[in-house]
């Protein structure tokens, strides 16, 4: 009972209530489904040649496209949803009032973060009927579907926590949103660009040192595996990430795990670090500075 009481977060409940009262929410849901549904149905129409025939092999492709499209939508919507959660309170001039109540910084940050992500989760799960259409044509396993949805959840957690941190650090919602988008897209593109640069540098070094027989280092693959796009493709056995589990290389036995888990581990780390920083920075009187103030006296 006590645990349940502790889990009750008034900030979260209030956010849920207020979000569903705005006119914006139904519009977001409508546009989200319109974009994703429109593109999926158009693709189905084109691939089935107007409904005359279908090739079961193409269903897998359709599932992949739908999944990647959804990932793109998450990358596009989550920063917008989270980058204003704290700065919006600040702009509305309600943050200082909240900070003088019994609500702890942790409850406040987690409440805001979960409220935004629950709306995004709601958006993602509202697309299940689209997946049902794909299922109709066959070609994908429920396991893959679960993995893809798990991938979405961890991606939302990670990107959402970046948005919440920036919203805490930056006073203006507009600037926090722009910086969030820049970081998310920078991460989505930058990790793979960096991976390829490192791969080429290693190749160059190997050529210069005539060490072409030595096993190729894993750094580029690790970097690719934290790239959302390639990590998702890897779920379907596609993309540039080498499947380390199938390498059976004794040198990398420690790394003989599915790259999907690297991605999950990395984003879990990003989530924890960003949320801890946000909790620290939202406190008006921070523990570390308090000590220094005492020393001054």
């Amino acid at each position: 009972m006590n645990v349940l009481k502790r889990l009750r977060n008034p900030v979260l409940f209030n956010e849920w209530k207020m979000r569903m009262r705005t006119n914006r929410s139904p519009w977001i849901i409508f546009l989200y489904l319109l974009t994703l549904g429109g593109m999926t149905l158009l693709y189905i129409f084109l691939q089935t040649n107007g409904g005359t025939y279908y090739n079961p092999n193409q269903t897998r492709e359709l599932f992949m496209i739908l999944s990647i499209l959804q990932l793109g939508m998450i990358g596009f919507v989550v920063p917008g949803l989270t980058a204003g959660v704290i700065s919006g309170e600040r702009e509305r001039q309600t943050l200082s009032i909240l900070l003088t109540t019994n609500v702890s910084a942790t409850r406040l940050i987690l409440g805001k973060w979960l409220a935004s992500l629950s709306f995004m989760t709601f958006l993602v799960f509202s697309t299940i009927p689209l997946y049902a259409i794909v299922f109709l044509y066959g070609g994908i396993s429920p396991g893959q579907l679960f993995k893809v949805f798990g991938f979405y959840v961890i991606t939302m957690f990670g990107i959402g926590s970046i948005g919440v941190l920036l919203s805490t650090l930056i006073k203006r919602t507009g600037i926090a949103t722009v910086v969030s988008y820049a970081i998310v897209f920078g991460f989505a593109i930058g990790s793979s660009v960096l991976a390829e640069i490192i791969r080429e540098l290693i190749r160059y070094q190997r050529r210069v040192n005539y060490a072409t027989q030595a096993p190729f280092p894993l750094w580029p693959d690790l970097l690719h595996s934290i790239n959302p796009m390639f990590a998702m493709l890897n779920i379907f056995g596609e993309g540039p990430v080498r499947d380390l589990t199938r390498m059976n290389n004794t040198q990398f036995t420690m790394l003989n795990i599915d790259p999907f888990w690297y991605y999950c581990l990395f984003l879990a780390l990003v989530t924890v670090v960003c949320l801890l920083l946000a909790i620290y920075f939202i406190q008006p009187v921070r523990p570390r500075f308090r000590k220094s103030a005492q020393v001054e006296q």
């Binding site: 209030n14 509305r92 001039q93 309600t94 003088t100 006296q297």
Partner: protein, 308 residues
């Protein structure tokens, strides 16, 4: 109940508070007066655990605000100088949300909220959305919000700013009720007369320093003793001023064009005698008015040197 000890706050090179020391007893209504940027809001933010002082200490109910912010927050109800409201909530939901934030059980909240709405005369607006309320109503709702956990101390930063006269009167009446309930209230304003009516003690702060501190009843008794006379002459103003300076009932004399403004410490009979003397001496007196002394001037005069 509240104690400030040599409180300093620096924002970069700007020093907002320069060693402010102050003590407010339990059940006192303390008025914090000063121009914009004097340090009132900074002091209140420190007391509300929203700001850390650069040096010095602040205590609320015996708790140091930077060391025990959680305990301090339970004791205080803070209302900033702006309306922090959620537009998509009704007045009742708004109070319920803050009640939940103070960990008040739902059943208890259901009992408290109607009482609070009644206290601030908003019972009829219980189901109205906050954005549909007038500025004065929002301010009163903010006051109810700050009372939701029944705090011992109320910190109200410029609650009357921007309100029309009617809303000001309504707010003043509510504050009187709260004073009768035994709450310790700190209320700020940049207008002294606005606060003088509802406060027991007044402190004037200027450029981060407490320049005056005293009881309001002392000011009023002083005001009874001292009145200001405004006399308009057609000419011979300087001569009349010289003559008046020789009189023992005249405290000071100043010239404003053809007007003489004089501090007068005598009674009604002595006032009649003064007018007669001026007329007999042949000064062309065109007007002879009695005005109440300037509250701020008198306050600063009687509390001279208190803050330093």
């Amino acid at each position: 109940m509240i104690q400030l000890q040599n409180l300093r706050k620096r924002y970069g090179k700007m020093e907002a508070l320069k060693g402010l020391s102050l003590e407010i007893d339990k059940g006192t209504v303390f008025g914090f007066v000063g121009p914009n940027g004097a340090g009132k809001s900074t002091t209140m933010s420190i007391l509300a655990t929203l700001l850390e002082p650069t040096s010095g200490k602040a205590y609320v109910g015996g708790y140091e605000v930077t060391k025990n912010p959680k305990e301090v927050r339970k004791l205080i109800g803070y209302m900033p100088d702006f309306f922090g409201v959620y537009d998509n909530l009704t007045a009742e939901e708004y109070l319920d949300f803050y009640g939940a934030n103070y960990d008040i059980p739902a059943a208890e909240r259901k009992q408290i909220i109607p009482q609070l709405l009644e206290l601030v005369n908003l019972s009829h607006k219980r189901d109205a959305y906050v954005d549909s309320l007038s500025r004065g109503m929002k301010q009163r709702l903010g006051l109810a919000r700050s009372l939701v956990h029944n705090p011992e101390v109320l910190i109200l930063d410029e609650p009357a700013s921007g309100l029309d006269p009617r809303a000001r009167i309504e707010l003043r009446e509510i504050l009187k009720e709260l004073r009768d309930m035994g709450k310790t209230i700190i209320i700020s304003s940049h207008i002294l007369p606005e606060l003088a009516e509802m406060c027991d003690v007044i402190g004037i702060v200027e450029e981060g320093n407490l320049v005056a501190y005293g009881r309001v009843d002392e000011i009023y008794s002083k005001m009874q003793e001292q009145r200001v006379l405004r006399i308009r002459l057609l000419d011979q103003v300087e001569e009349a001023m010289t003559r008046m300076r020789e009189m023992p009932v005249i405290i000071n004399v100043n010239r404003e064009g053809n007007w003489i403004v004089a501090g007068f410490s005598g009674n009604d009979e002595q006032q009649v005698e003064l007018l007669r003397e001026l007329a007999v001496a042949g000064f062309p007196v065109a007007a002879f008015n009695e005005t109440v002394g300037d509250l701020e001037e008198i306050f600063l005069e009687i509390t001279k040197g208190v803050g330093s």
